[in-house]
Amino acid sequence: MLSKIKAAWRVLRRLSGDDAYERYLEHYARNHNVDCLHACDRPLSKKDFFKQWQDEKWHGVKRCC
């Protein structure tokens, strides 16, 4: 039961974009700076990431009648 509630919570967070920053960090860890030893780029801060994410999400047709 508890695991189901947790799963539902995860779905809700994912659907709403609540976990977007965590996913971004994971993606970043997987794909950037894998081979670099020093002078790596740092990922965006949560505030900056969210700004970018929100502005991009709102480009183009997103809603129907």
Binding site: R14, H27, R63, C65
Partner: protein, 689 residues
């Protein structure tokens, strides 16, 4: 043994479906339980999903689960993100389900419950769902390109331009008619106006919270917003009871229309995070929550449908909009049966998230089934009302008369008895001064929903439920309105950028202000005319919207049909060809009637001529004589607009036929733009989190 059991289950589902559909269709005279509608829908949907959709996916589209999708190949962690299929389903459904499936069926209920219900069920499984699914598939195979780009690549520049122009015009008409629905729900209703007005600062509070106070905490901010929205429904009632405050929110339709225009303009130029994004979150939660609640209430309560299967208005004399059953029921119910607008979401947006092609059936076909079910619930909510009440709420004063006594006499004379007292009691229960002539669908749906919710969750709260339902519709109508105005602005900037590059810069303030003003002016004009039109305006605008929406669907189906021919799948071409043919037939015949009919309530030119004659002979009161020239001009404009839509439709159909003919005759055509196969690495081990 297992397969035998499966067969038996499917046979039982089929039998239930046949029984429910024939029960609904053949029932005459007696009230019929709404549960039959739900049973018919669920069995038709499951059979179509299990057999037809699977067959299309496997045989016609040949989806390939070993093939990498754009989300996998172009994964950038931002817009291209491989996403769990249930999450994609949620996003896709939230994007396609707007107010359309709630308004259309409510208006079409004037024909009785049967025609609309059958069209919602079968139009969806054979047309709308197929369109959404095929478009999603084609865009997935083409790096998530938009419908316009696909039309240009596969058919030629004509198709691309037609898609662009079609999208822009449908946006203008759609926003105008939705604005009109909200205005009709708010006029002289301080409670509704105050609640709807409160949604704006609430969205801004949520926007600030998400952007600055606790950046990225979407759920926290949304929870706060939903609570504030519910409080605003209660606060609206308080304002309504306050002798001074209520005057601030008690307005004529015209005044409210100006406010809606000012709001649309502000929303198009303000940054998205302040208004658009937070409002969209709130409207999505409220929408999903309310629709679920409505479904639960209908199943618990099992209300009786009181509207007859078919009314006498199938002959074209209906009070809400003029026009015979054929073709107007198919134009009136666009969303919920087949909606061209969906092809804009199914191409471009959703394919960027899709992990695997095999999920296309569930997301493309399945989400549209759910939308069709929403339309069916709207039909139920409209038809559980006493027919007399339904017509009293929805008939415009220009048809039944301004005085309440005249209106009830007229409506009762049609065989749908209703009294002034009955309407007054109902209005009091709902916390309104009157419910007469609130054309547009939102108020009658709200009364229907309030009575369903009221009897399921407590009669005492009817007025709260009514205004909750109004708020629920208004909030996502306004979301469509501001999102649409913004999209219209971007499209216009893009088009103007071809002639004057500076105009194409989406952040250059003069261009932003100029193009936003043009878009708002476009829909604002139709909204203004709709509000001053004594016949309600919805009777003119809704068919135009239906025609435009079906035009867009026809463009999507043309692209799909052309691609099927070019992919050597001629024997399956009927899968998209038959819905396309049907759309061409209904759109053309509706346009034909709207242009040529002698009936002043149907034909635009006939209506204009009638007004001109009456004006010339001095038949009008001074105030009517004052607006008559504008109405005449508008009717003529609408006629030309209809002609333009239908010409565009035929142009694209001929373009598709030309390309298909050339391909079949072995001549050169634009090559298939499909991206070559590359194997997916996200195979079964993919953690479906």
């Amino acid at each position: 043994m297992h397969s035998l059991l499966t067969k038996i289950i499917w046979i039982l589902i089929t039998l239930l479906g046949v029984a429910a559909v024939t029960g609904i269709a053949l029932n005459r005279g007696e009230h019929i339980n709404a549960l039959w509608f739900v049973a018919a829908a669920l069995s038709v949907y499951s059979i179509a999903y299990r057999f037809y959709a699977s067959w299309i996916a496997a045989q016609v589209l040949t989806v390939d689960d070993t093939r990498a999708t754009p989300a996998e190949r172009l994964d950038n962690g931002k817009d291209f993100v491989p996403t769990n299929r249930w999450i994609v389903f949620g996003h896709h459904f939230a994007a396609i389900a707007g107010p359309g499936p709630l308004v259309g069926p409510t208006l079409a209920a004037q024909f009785g419950y049967l025609p609309g219900t059958l069209w919602i069920l079968f139009g969806a499984v054979l047309g709308g769902c197929v369109q959404d699914m095929v478009t999603l598939f084609l865009s997935t195979r083409r790096d998530a390109k938009s419908l316009g780009q696909m039309a240009r690549d596969e058919l030629g520049p004509l198709g691309g331009t037609a898609a662009l122009v079609g999208t822009f015009s449908i946006m203008i008409i759609l926003i105008a008619v939705l604005g009109l629905v909200v205005v009709n729900a708010m006029k002289h209703s301080p409670w509704a106006t105050a609640t709807v007005a409160a949604t704006i600062p609430i969205a801004m509070i949520v926007g600030f919270y998400m952007r600055f106070f606790r950046p990225g905490q979407v759920l926290e901010a949304s929870a706060l917003g939903v609570i504030l929205l519910l409080l605003s429904v209660v606060a609206g009632g308080w304002i309504d009871n306050h002798p001074e405050l209520r005057k601030l929110f008690d307005h004529e339709g015209l005044m409210l229309a100006w406010c809606v225009m000012a709001y649309g303009f502000a929303a198009a130029i303000l940054p998205v995070w302040l208004l658009l994004a937070p409002r969209d979150y709130l409207s999505t939660y409220i929408k999903v929550g309310t629709i679920t609640l409505l479904a639960v209430a209908i199943i618990i309560l099992q209300p009786e449908v009181k509207m007859p299967a078919m009314t006498q208005f199938i002959d074209g004399t209906g009070p809400i909009f003029g026009g015979k059953l054929f073709p107007f029921v198919f134009i009136t119910i666009a969303c919920g049966a087949i909606s061209g607008f969906h092809s804009l979401i199914a191409s471009g947006t959703t394919p960027k998230l899709l992990i695997n092609e095999r999920d296309i059936r569930m997301i493309g076909y399945g989400a549209m089934l759910l939308e069709s079910f929403v339309a069916l619930m709207a039909m139920i909510a409209a038809t559980v009302l006493d027919p007399g009440v339904f017509f009293a709420i929805n008939s415009p004063a220009g048809v039944v008369g301004l005085a309440e006594v005249d209106a009830v006499a007229k409506i009762s004379s049609w065989g749908f008895p209703v009294t002034v007292e009955q309407m007054q009691v109902l209005a009091n229960q709902m916390g309104e001064s009157t419910l007469f002539a609130r054309t547009g669908g939102a108020p009658s749906l709200a009364v229907g929903m309030a009575s369903i919710f009221g009897s399921a969750f407590g009669e005492k709260l009817l007025a709260l439920w009514y205004h909750f339902a109004i708020m629920f519709e208004a909030i996502f109508i306004l979301t469509t309105l501001d999102a649409g105005t913004r999209v219209g602005r971007f499209m216009l900037q893009d088009m103007l950028g071809n002639f004057w590059p500076k105009m194409g810069e989406t952040s250059w303030t003069p261009s932003v202000v100029f193009t936003s003003a043009l878009v708002v002016g476009g829909w604002g004009y139709f909204l203004y005319i709709g509000v001053i039109d004594p016949n309600g305006g919805v009777n003119i605008l809704w068919p135009l919207f239906g025609i435009a929406n079906q035009l867009l669907a026809a463009i999507a189906l043309c692209v799909a049909t052309g691609i099927l021919v070019k992919s050597d799948k001629f024997k399956y071409v009927w899968v998209t060809g038959v819905p396309l043919l049907w759309l061409v037939v209904i759109t053309s015949s509706a346009a034909w009637e709207k242009i040529t009919s002698d009936d002043v309530r149907i034909g635009f030119f006939a209506g204009a001529e009638d007004l001109a004659t009456k004006l010339a002979t001095g038949n009008f009161s001074p105030e009517k004589a004052q607006i008559a020239p504008q109405l005449i001009f508008n009717l003529q404009l609408d006629a030309w607009l209809t002609l333009f839509f239908v010409a565009l439709l035929w142009l694209i159909v001929f373009d598709m036929l030309r390309v298909s003919y050339r391909y079949l005759a072995g001549k050169s055509v634009p090559p298939l733009a499909e991206v070559p196969h590359s194997p997916s690495r996200l195979i079964e081990e993919w953690v479906r989190d």
